[in-house]
């Protein structure tokens, strides 16, 4: 293999890694945002992602059946994304109100258990409602393969990467420029003082959950475009992996979560190139272990201690 081919090969996998990392990044942002506000991880987030994907599936199927004859594809796509985000954010609000609000004063582990249990209820609920048959996500755009400079990629892949980046940009603007975003940032600086300044945690926390769930549902739609098989347990593994990314980036840091999400994608893809693919998890998590041993706070971890909540 000469140098050019090697370069092409790496670039090819870079695109794959970016795609995979996009999912992890967008989902792990949801974990990080909730952590910033509540100093808790929302362990139902992986399953919120799953429910979001199912909502996206329903909306997409409906819209394709109703409008595909007279509306262009991109309008349907945008409509699906917007409606799904709106609906899925209510799932986030529900999880906050039902599972996390009664446990504000409780130890962190109890809230973690509640989150896990809500996740199981979601999985089982979907399984009961839709049965064990595997649904496949309808393609919202026609997949076209391109070849540029010896690198193959499809428009779906590019779209996933671009939309993920776009989402993060929008989120960044939301958090930096709006009043709501400012309240969230303030909350993550000081959990105790901000409610005294007239910013109610009972408004900011559901909002945070809603934004996280909305992001996760878009990730779900994109995921459905890349891997069109839906199954009620799809959120478990990807959720835990995104959780790992959220910690790796430094809890509470949105920038860190996004970067760590991409990093995890890169690690997973490139480990699979160099070593047999069955060793992927082994090596990927050994690297995570190593990073956390030497940088226990992750990349951009905040300085405050967990003692504040206990």
């Amino acid at each position: 293999m000469d140098l050019l081919e090697l370069f092409q090969y790496i670039l090819q996998n870079l695109i794959n890694a970016l795609q995979r990392g996009s999912f992890y990044a967008v989902i792990s942002i949801g974990y990080s945002m909730v952590y910033g506000v509540l100093m808790l991880f929302n362990f139902a987030h992986g399953d919120i992602f799953m429910v979001g994907t199912y909502i996206g599936f329903a909306i997409a199927t409906l819209f394709l059946a109703l409008f595909s004859s007279f509306l262009p594809g991109w309008i349907i796509f945008i409509g699906t994304v917007v409606i799904t985000m709106f609906l899925a954010s209510w799932i986030g609000v529900f999880v906050e109100v039902a599972g996390y609000r009664p446990l504000r004063a409780a130890p962190r582990a109890s809230a973690a258990i509640t989150g896990l249990m809500i996740g199981i209820i979601f999985e089982t609920g979907i399984l009961i409602m839709l049965g064990a048959k595997r649904l496949s996500f309808p393609p919202l755009m026609e997949s076209v393969a391109y070849k540029v400079g010896g690198i193959y990629f499809t428009n779906v892949k590019v779209m996933i990467i671009i939309i993920s980046l776009l989402l993060m940009l929008v989120l960044h603007t939301f958090i930096q420029k709006t009043k709501w975003g400012m309240a969230m940032r303030a909350m993550s600086y000081d959990f105790l003082a901000v409610p005294l300044m007239g910013v109610s945690i009972n408004i900011i926390a559901p909002l945070t959950f809603a934004v996280g769930a909305g992001l996760a549902s878009v990730a779900g739609i994109l995921y459905g475009q890349a891997y069109p098989i839906l199954d009620p347990y799809m959120g478990v593994l990807i959720g835990w992996k995104a959780f790992v990314a959220a910690i790796l980036g430094g809890r509470g840091s949105i920038k860190g979560a996004a970067m760590a999400g991409y990093l995890l994608g890169f690690i997973e893809i490139f480990v699979a190139i160099i070593f047999p693919s069955t060793l992927r998890d082994l090596i990927a998590y050994s690297i995570v272990l190593l990073i956390l041993t030497y940088r226990p706070r992750g990349f951009f971890g905040m300085e405050h201690s967990t003692k504040l909540r206990l």
Partner: protein, 424 residues
């Protein structure tokens, strides 16, 4: 409520011995008359396995019969015998107070084992439930050492369990079984049950050594980061086992001889409860609590925090390894999928349901979740909605679990209730 008070007062003079005697009578009645007479008269197809819950959920028409069965076989004999023998059991309990506590406890446990054995004898399903429940008790108590007494949020318990299960299985398969994977047995098969405890301990030791991978990073970090480290450990162990073709890879490993019979598991469970109880009430156990509550303060009060953390992890992992070894020899088959995130959720549910920092809480949690899981089996999928809901409610109303930060005193539990009645 008044009725409950009256009921409690009526039975307040029954010592533990009396209750055990009542339970023994009940299971003997079931053993001798359960099928031939009682089930037959009540038109039940067979002896209800789990107090009739299965048949009640499957066929609502049978609810009255199943309830009547419970009443005739369990409730009435236990209550009647317990009350009727109170005059005899109290003096005996008084006598037992005079001998060393350990002997008295052993006596009671022997009686309890008898009850359990006769109850489980009825069919294999019951016996399997009892065995798996006791393994879960070991698991739950051992994770309580790390998550409750030491206050970390460790997610690596299935990993420790896997290490123990695989080590123990490999040893027994190499030594005592002629199989395809490891060839001829090295030792005669009759030696197996006697060497089995040592292979179990070897599994425990391997798990304890493996736990160092989580314990050493815990010197520098705790809380969420440690949770991730332990989670990464779990993924690593699972993935490593999947890739080791010599021990079956992801196909798993089968053919373990059934060494983990009911008495063996019972003895190990009692040993586990006893040793962990002694551990957490020792100075080391107090040090664990100190590290949990305030690490810096503990350090300044001469607690060796690193040593403490390491001991807690290794100790918890050791017992998880034992539980894993027993588990492998109950089911005679293990694969990496057995020790996945789902198992983790199950273990965490049991320990947080039962209560942190409490051995009796762990026992309650393990037994409740297990028996509930079996009893609700006819509901199929809805089981996985009901159990999480129960857990959520427990978390909301008792955030530290049902029975947390409480221990029971064996002496108080077993003493005669005679004096109290006279006082009242």
């Amino acid at each position: 409520m008044e009725f409950v008070e009256k009921f409690k007062r009526m039975f307040s003079n029954v010592p533990m011995l009396g209750w055990l005697l009542g339970a023994l009578t009940a299971v003997l009645i079931e053993y001798f008359f359960g099928y031939d007479y009682i089930s037959y008269i009540l038109q039940l197809p067979k002896i209800p396995v789990l107090f009739g819950t299965l048949i009640m959920l499957k066929e609502p028409m049978m609810i009255p019969s199943a309830l009547a069965y419970d009443l005739i076989v369990y409730v009435l004999p236990i209550l009647l015998v317990a009350k009727a023998t109170a005059f005899a059991t109290n003096p005996v309990a008084m006598l037992l107070e005079k001998i060393p506590l350990i002997l008295s406890v052993i006596l009671h446990l022997a009686l309890f084992y008898l009850v359990l054995h006769v109850w489980a004898e009825i069919n294999d399903y019951r016996e399997l439930i009892v065995r798996l429940t006791m393994i879960c008790i070991i698991l739950t108590i051992s994770i309580n050492v790390i998550n409750g007494y030491q206050g970390e949020f460790s997610c690596s318990h299935p990993g420790f369990m896997a290490l123990g299960a695989y080590t123990c299985s490999i040893l027994t398969l190499v030594l005592f079984v002629n199989d395809r994977m490891f060839g001829e047995a090295l030792l005669p098969a009759w030696l197996g049950p006697w060497i089995f405890p040592f292979t179990l301990i070897a599994g425990g030791i391997v798990a304890a050594l493996g736990s160092l991978l989580v314990a050493i990073p815990s010197f520098r970090t705790r809380g969420d980061y440690l949770a991730i480290i332990s989670l990464a450990f779990l993924f690593i162990v699972k993935s490593a086992v999947e890739n080791l073709q010599i021990i079956g890879g992801s196909r798993g490993m089968g053919g373990q001889p059934e060494y983990a019979t009911l008495p063996v598991i019972f003895i190990w469970t009692i040993l586990c409860i006893w040793i962990i109880h002694n551990f957490v009430t020792s100075i080391m156990g107090k040090a664990l609590n100190a590290v949990r509550d305030d690490e810096a303060a503990a350090e300044s009060m001469t607690v060796a925090t690193r040593k403490t953390k390491m001991t807690a992890f290794m100790f918890g992992a050791f017992w998880a390894g034992i539980a894993g070894g027993l588990f492998a020899h109950v089911l005679s088959y293990i694969n990496p999928g057995t020790f996945s995130i789902n198992r983790l959720a199950e273990i965490l549910a049991m320990v947080y349901f039962g209560g942190l920092n409490s051995i009796i809480g762990s026992i309650v949690g393990a037994v409740t979740i297990n028996v509930l899981g079996e009893a609700l089996r006819p509901l199929e999928l809805f089981k996985w909605i009901i159990i999480p809901l129960i857990l959520i409610f427990v978390m909301i109303f008792r955030p530290y679990g049902l029975i947390s930060f409480k221990e029971i005193n064996a002496k108080k539990l077993l003493r005669a209730k005679y004096k109290r009645e006279q006082g009242a």
